[in-house]
Amino acid sequence: MAAKVVTVQRPARPRAMDTLGPLAILRGLFVTSSHFFRNLFGFIRGKPTIFTVQYPEELQQLAPAFRGMPVLVQMANGKERCVACGLCEWACPVDCITIYPAETEDEIERYPAVFDIDMSRCMFCGLCEEACPEEAIVMSQRVAIATTDWRGSVWHKSDLLMPATELQTRLTHIRRGYERTGAAATPVARGKA
């Protein structure tokens, strides 16, 4: 098969904007400084015109669907809701969860004696949350997992516990998810017709 020859139309001569370097520089400087001054006046007036979050003093408002690091829900009595059933451990595609179950004298007789998540392996997929039958592990809005020591990337049970009150947004969000997937007791009609 013969190759097809394409003829490209090029401008016969370069434009003035491309050949006269100083003009191009001045044009660029005008764009930059107009933004600078607009932002500066906006900042002085206390009404910033641009979207810059002053992290870490300011934190962004995240959507309930945002998946940060997985945490364990802490009940009002200070104990974890987790019963160490091991489903998140099984669901985890990167095997970052390690649980050793144990027995207690409480009414719920089982609890995790060890619950470790290796945050350096966690990929924030949220399958653990989806697998959990107890709403005990949820994806929080925490994202700061940086550490100065590799051992620090393994989060233990005490580090992972977070009071249920702080996780209310996410818990409400995942409960809405049950209805969407049809897992609720009463089937939910989807769409029209």
Binding site: V83, A84, C85, G86, L87, E89, W90, P101, A102, E103, I108, E109, R110, P133, E134, A183, A185, T186
Partner: protein
């Protein structure tokens, strides 16, 4: 033989058998809870309903005898609907305990609920509240809420152990399985009730809340607890053994095993010897390299043999070694070390007329079959003991630590008289402090090989845990042999190859083949 038609296929089945076992043998999936091949028929769960042409209603297949020309439907819509109904009734009061229930993952109720169940309950009433975590015995815990009253455990205690500890109490929806007041479920086979429980009502305390079953790798093996050689599955996860479960073998243990054997796996996980030790000057021996330990063994033993003659050496053989290791050890003793005086040290214990045998080692029979036990007229364990006390035996090559229990309190005094003591052991033991060289061995869970049970049945064991670079006992014997200048084929210790050598050398094993042993083992010629 009778001809019956099942789901459109005509099959030949033995006369006088019930329908359900026949169907299960053909690989058909007929759900059932109360039927167990080794127990009497109860017919209480109503789950194995099938449609038989000519009968007015659906019938339970476990209690329907086969009949010539019978036409059976196990799959049809009528049958499925009936099973769904039965399952719904069984689940009416079943608690949603799956996340905290040890049975989850191997639970018949979960399996059938997945197949036949509805996603949500239709009942609005609160579920029945019964006792949870009832301490029915020292090794078993009962959860009455989870029980579906299939009465397998009750029949087991009545028919197999004949101890009758468990019973069904009260009537109607108040019925519960329980023990009689002050009569705990404390027989030697009590944990079998947890095995046969199709749900999580009876559970082994040892395994309670230890590990999810889906994380366990199950390896077929043989129980090392006594010479009965019960077939087991070794459940291992994260480098540890978590439980032993009996495996069906009608020639050996049916589907049962004793509690002592089942709980006797802990030595695999605990107090292991991992590095060789050599005594330098005073007691106890210190960690050393493999090279140093093996070198010490060979030089000291040959030195003693050259100085005082072969009569100054003796060997005590462990009945926990596999046949292949015993065979290699036999060659090492006869060839490289030239040790004539040798015997097997077997701990003797409790026995009964069912599964528990007095010899508390898996391969005592194998050791005598392979000629490592003292024959009549030769120096036996008592003679070796006397010779050590008299000072004629100066060096002792010991495999295993059972000798300590066999000789009892005098063991330390007797062994202290030795000039040179080599011990090949897998676990920490006071005997090791007296040794001059300690060589770490492996346990049954880390080896491939065969055991011969008390009746002469040769059965395979498979490696459940990876020992890493640690050599097996057989490898140690080969390496000692090589250092002593024996002619040994190059390469690692290969159980298959050595089993071949056993079948050629030992007449009793001549008809056996490594690949023919299968999952159930094969009897030796005279067994």
């Amino acid at each position: 033989m009778a001809k019956i038609t099942v789901d459109g296929t005509t099959i030949e089945v033995p006369d006088n058998s019930m329908l359900l076992p026949v169907l299960l043998d053909r690989g058909l999936q007929v759900p059932h809870y109360c039927y167990h091949p080794k127990l009497s028929i109860d017919g209480s769960c109503r789950m194995c309903l099938v449609k038989v042409e000519g009968l007015p209603k659906l019938t339970i297949s476990c209690n329907t005898p086969v009949r010539e020309g019978m036409v059976v439907d196990t799959q049809g819509p009528e049958v499925t609907k009936a099973r769904q109904g039965v399952l719904e009734l069984l689940l009416v009061n079943h608690p949603l305990d799956c996340p905290i229930c040890d049975q989850a993952g191997e639970c018949y109720l979960q399996d059938y609920a997945f197949e036949y169940g509805k996603r949500a309950a239709r009942t609005q009433e609160p579920r029945r509240k019964l006792l949870k975590r009832v301490d029915v015995g020292p090794r078993v815990v009962l959860d009455q809420e989870r029980c579906i009253l299939c009465r397998r455990c009750v029949r087991f205690c009545k028919e197999i152990t004949e101890t009758r500890e468990l019973g069904v109490f009260n009537l109607g929806d108040q019925s519960v399985v329980d023990i009689f007041p002050g009569e705990p479920l404390d027989n030697d086979y009590s944990i079998n009730t947890a095995d046969i429980c199709p749900v999580g009502a009876l559970l082994s305390k040892d395994f309670h809340h230890k590990m999810r079953v889906w994380f366990l790798d199950e390896t077929e093996s043989v129980c090392p607890g006594c010479s009965n050689g019960c077939n087991v599955k070794v459940g291992a996860a994260r480098g540890s053994v978590y439980r032993l479960l009996p495996r069906r073998n009608d020639e050996v243990n049916d589907t049962w095993m004793c509690d002592q054997g089942r709980l006797g796996y802990r030595f695999v996980n605990e107090h292991r010897v991992r590095t060789p030790r050599v005594r330098r000057g005073t007691t106890p021996p210190e960690n050393a390299s493999w090279d140093e330990a093996l070198q010490q063994t060979t030089t000291q033993l040959s030195e003693l043999s050259r100085r005082d003659g072969a009569g100054a050496l003796a060997a005590v053989v462990s009945p926990h070694l596999t046949n292949e290791e015993l065979f290699s050890l036999g060659q090492l003793l006869a060839g490289g070390l030239r040790i004539q005086q040798r015997d097997v040290a077997v701990i003797s214990g409790k026995s009964d007329d069912f599964l528990i045998k007095a010899d508390k080692a898996a391969n005592a029979r194998g050791a005598s079959d392979l000629g490592l036990a003292a024959t009549a007229g030769a120096a036996d364990l008592a003679a070796i003991r006397a010779a050590i006390e008299a000072g004629t035996i100066r060096g002792l090559f010991v495999t295993g630590t059972d000798l300590w229990e066999v000789w009892g309190e005098a063991a330390a005094r007797i062994l202290g008289r030795l000039e040179f003591l080599v011990v090949v052991a897998s676990n920490e033991h006071p005997l090791l402090d007296l040794a001059h060289v300690v060589l770490p061995g492996l346990t049954f869970a880390e080896k491939n090989g065969t055991f011969t049970n008390h009746a002469g049945r040769v059965q395979r064991i498979h490696r459940a845990l990876d020992p890493g670079t640690q050599p097996s006992d057989g490898e140690i014997f080969l390496q000692i042999g090589r250092r002593l200048g024996m002619e040994i084929t190059p390469g690692l210790f290969d159980p298959r190859q050595i089993f071949g050598a056993i079948t050629r050398r030992v007449p009793r094993y001549a008809a056996l083949g490594w690949d023919d042993l299968g999952r159930q083992g094969q009897p030796t010629a005279d067994a």
